[in-house]
Amino acid sequence: MPSASGLSRDQRIRCRDRVVQAAKLTLANKEHTHYTEGPQRWDGIKNRRNAEIGQFPEYSDCSSFATWCLWNGLVLRFGLGDVVNGAGWTAGYTGTMLEHGLAVRYPASVLPGDCVIYGSGPPGVHCAVVVDMVNGTPMVISHGSEAGPFYLAYDYRPDVLQIRRYI
């Protein structure tokens, strides 16, 4: 099976590092990042905020945050096109995220950099980025409100719709 990104195995390892680094950096600076569903939510990508040099979005919502994390690995490291939303890295939401990447069926197969999408059905209502596994449970960083982001077990809410891989 070709990977969702087209990257090689070794490239995917490096890409996941960058994605998780971006999510963790934003969590560590949660008091300086804000939640919005307005046009400013693409601040991270539009202003090319690079987590590797300590930059993170001032504004985002769940899907633009997840997309920015992936953009750090897929674009800043490997210069790839928008395999997450198919919108040239300028737009997207959980509905477009569901239309791209590959589905992960079992939690045991989940890897850092995968995304959990929540909702009762398409187009979904929320998403979060997997950052590690604790005792076999995928852990996510979720940015779903002004108080966020938060570090949580992937099933912190009961409506896990899909887990998708873009790397």
Binding site: H126, D132, S142, Y151
Partner: protein, 56 residues
């Protein structure tokens, strides 16, 4: 969880499913795991795909 059968599942390829997991060193240790009961309700996604500004 539902899935996209048309596109297949990552799990259908065991090598890609695990994808060198042992070589990934990205532990988020040090962060406190939030209690979901203490987390404000997620506002939700914007629920719409704004027009792309063009391939970037």
């Amino acid at each position: 969880m539902s899935g996209d059968k048309a596109a297949g599942f990552v799990d259908d390829d065991p090598e890609y499913a695990t994808d060198a997991a042992a070589e990934i060193d990205v532990e988020a240790a040090g962060f406190e795991v939030a209690d979901p009961r203490d987390v404000p309700a997620d506002v939700g996604d914007s629920g719409t795909a704004e027009p792309p500004a063009g391939e970037g």
